[in-house]
């Protein structure tokens, strides 16, 4: 058994290996490769000549791993001090196992399982640590820098693993029926798993039962959830204190809440609110 030293091990995680794999033509759908199968002389690969060979390794068997939908996942590689190459039969057996190995290590599996928790989702994105986005079926609301993603990101950054709220659907401008033109946003933190760059999924789905709350009620709840004092709620909505009180009485009745505080908590836990926009509070439509 050959023991790789720590330095050699860390090199295997680094960019050199990726470069060598590309050089060796191993980042496309290829059959399994032994030393003799490589399209380039093995000594020209720095990984081999500087690290693997000096530590006593004489043979390898490896290939790229692809998910069933064609996504490149990574590589599998076995090394041995025994210079005899793997037999054709062993290669064939390993080749048959490759889809299962790929499935076993596919990091998107966790993400997809998490996304499935929102059974009726129509669109979604995966947020990555770098801020980039891996699209599931995508949506205009979920482009980088959008307010929906900013609101979802703020809630998740606050330490929440699961958050839901409502947002107006720009594709629809009907105010008549509050159910029309609203979407539910669900943001879920992915459990940590290698390679560790996928941090959350944000999904859009049809709104839940709104308990009879109007669009304006949901906006007021958004401000209450954010802890705005009632005086500022009125100002933000361009409505009189009297009008706001009327809305709040309506909200308390619909949510069966004994106090404003309980109403706001229920709204938060059920995702029945449109988040306040910190920069530009929603303008009133005459109250």
């Amino acid at each position: 058994m050959v023991q790789l030293c720590a330095a050699d091990m860390s090199v295997l995680d680094g960019p050199q290996l990726t470069a060598d794999l590309e050089e060796a033509g191993m980042q496309g759908p290829r059959p399994l490769m032994r030393i003799a199968d490589l399209p380039v002389p093995v000594d020209t690969l720095p990984m081999w000549s500087q690290h693997l060979y000096p530590s006593g390794i004489r043979q390898c068997l490896g290939t790229a791993l692809f998910a069933a939908d064609g996504r490149y996942l990574g590589a599998i590689n076995t090394n041995s001090a025994d210079p005899r190459p793997a037999t054709e039969a062993a290669c064939m057996l390993m080749a048959r196992a490759l889809p299962w190995i790929a499935h076993a290590i596919d990091p998107l599996r966790t993400v997809v399982a998490v996304a499935r928790l929102v059974g009726d989702a129509g669109a979604g994105v995966v947020l990555t640590r770098g801020g980039a986005i891996v699209a599931l079926p995508d949506h205009a609301l979920l482009v980088p820098g959008s307010r929906v993603l900013a609101a979802a990101g703020a809630r998740l950054a606050d330490g929440h693993t699961l958050t839901t709220f409502l947002c107006p659907d720009p594709g629809s401008d009907s105010d008549a029926d509050p159910c029309v033109g609203l979407l539910r946003v669900s943001a879920i933190t992915c459990p940590p798993a290698p390679p560790g760059h996928l941090c959350a999924v944000v999904l859009l789905s049809p709104p839940p039962h709104l308990c009879g709350l109007t669009r304006r009620d949901l906006q007021i709840l958004g401000l209450m959830v954010a802890g705005w004092p009632m005086t500022r709620v009125g100002a933000a909505l361009g409505a009189t204190a009297h009008a706001v009180t009327g809305h709040i009485d309506h909200i308390l009745t619909l949510l069966g809440a004994p106090s404003r505080q309980v109403a706001a908590i229920r709204a938060l836990r059920r995702g029945l609110y449109i988040p306040a926009e910190p920069a530009a509070p929603p303008r009133g439509d005459s109250g």
Partner: protein, 342 residues
């Protein structure tokens, strides 16, 4: 013979692939019937999950049975007869020809399946790799020729894979994994009982009827899809500590017997809130009026205001309303059903 073995391997591979699909359990149950049909050429088949507490066995996927038979098959009479046959106990597939009793002694056969023209059938108990009985795959043929022993043995091998494909607990464990540092957890059922979460230990604070699951069930019944609150860990020999309880509503899926999961995890940053401050916050969050808080805790109005003001400063909130909101959002409070006076 070798072609039969190869066909068996192909069916196993196909069912394994379906079991790995990200779709929901209903879609997977539907998909799994196709390779099974190639294997046994049934005229009618169903995959049903048992809701043991409500004595129902609704079908995830059903083909070839008329409405009347479907109703009967998911009802308590069928469940009772399956129990008499020992299907849940023996966990081996049973053909009509394997029955040790006369088929006409079974009401489901005499009054439902036989009159509908079926002459043979097999029932395959679905048990997961970790030993949970989920329900069954049942198939019937108009032909009286029983399924071969080889096919029955293959179905026995396939049963754990089919069980995995239709296991409702898979989405529950995904949900539970969202609370990454959970130390214990249970699933609440419609009848107020609890079921273990695979891969997570239970906890004495989570026994059925204990304050924590009761409070979580109340939050669920109020319509909340998630809630978090604190509970004293009540370790007499150690310093008084707290655990965070998180309630997450289960995805709505057949057999609809599981309502929500309750997880216990370390409390995280408590912002140095005192027991009294967390108690006052908990009463306000669960809807007590300030006057009720004063009466219940036997404190003065000034003491309550001070507690609330201290909590506001510790939570860094701009107002008392915002502080209560923040405590509710982060689960930094002791519900009145759980708080012990200190």
């Amino acid at each position: 013979m070798s072609s039969r073995v190869a066909r068996g391997d192909r069916v196993v591979a196909e069912v394994a692939q379906i079991a790995a699909m990200p779709a929901g359990i209903t879609a997977r149950a539907e998909a799994v019937l196709a390779p099974l049909h190639r294997l046994i050429r049934f005229d009618a088949a169903r995959i049903a999950l048992l809701d043991s507490q409500r004595r129902r066995q609704p079908a995830l996927s059903s083909h070839g049975y008329d409405e009347k038979i479907q109703q009967y098959l998911q009802g308590p009479e069928t469940i009772r007869e399956l129990e008499l046959l020992g299907l849940e106990r023996d966990r081996t597939p049973l053909r009509m020809k394997d029955l040790t009793i006369c088929p006409s002694a079974l009401t489901v056969w005499r009054e439902q399946l036989h009159p509908a023209g079926f002459r043979e059938g097999i029932a395959v108990p679905l048990v997961t790799a970790d030993g949970r009985y989920l329900g069954l795959f049942g198939a019937n043929t108009v032909s009286a020729t029983p399924l071969s022993d080889a096919a029955r043995d293959l179905l026995q091998r396939l049963a754990p894979l089919i069980a995995h494909a239709v296991d409702p607990m898979r989405s529950i464990t995904t949900l539970a994994a969202l609370v990454g540092d959970a130390v214990a957890g249970v699933v609440l059922t419609h009848t107020g009982d609890t079921v273990a979460v695979p891969g997570l230990p239970g906890h004495r604070l989570l026994t059925p009827g204990a304050p924590v699951p009761t409070e979580a069930a109340t939050c669920y019944a109020d319509g909340d899809t998630r809630a978090a609150f604190l509970t004293p860990s009540r370790q007499t020999h150690a310093a008084p500590g707290y655990l965070k309880a998180t309630m997450l509503a289960c995805p709505d899926q057949s057999p609809h017997d599981l309502t929500a999961i309750v997880l216990l995890s370390p409390p995280g940053d408590l912002h140095r809130l005192s027991h009294r401050e967390m108690t006052v916050l908990g009463m306000l969050i669960t809807g007590f009026a300030p006057a009720q808080v004063i009466a219940r805790l036997g404190i003065t109005a000034a003491t309550m205001r001070t507690a609330l003001e201290h909590a506001r400063i510790k939570l860094g909130a701009p107002s008392c309303e915002a502080a209560v909101m923040r405590a509710a959002d982060r689960g930094l409070y002791l519900p009145p059903t759980i708080a012990t006076p200190r």
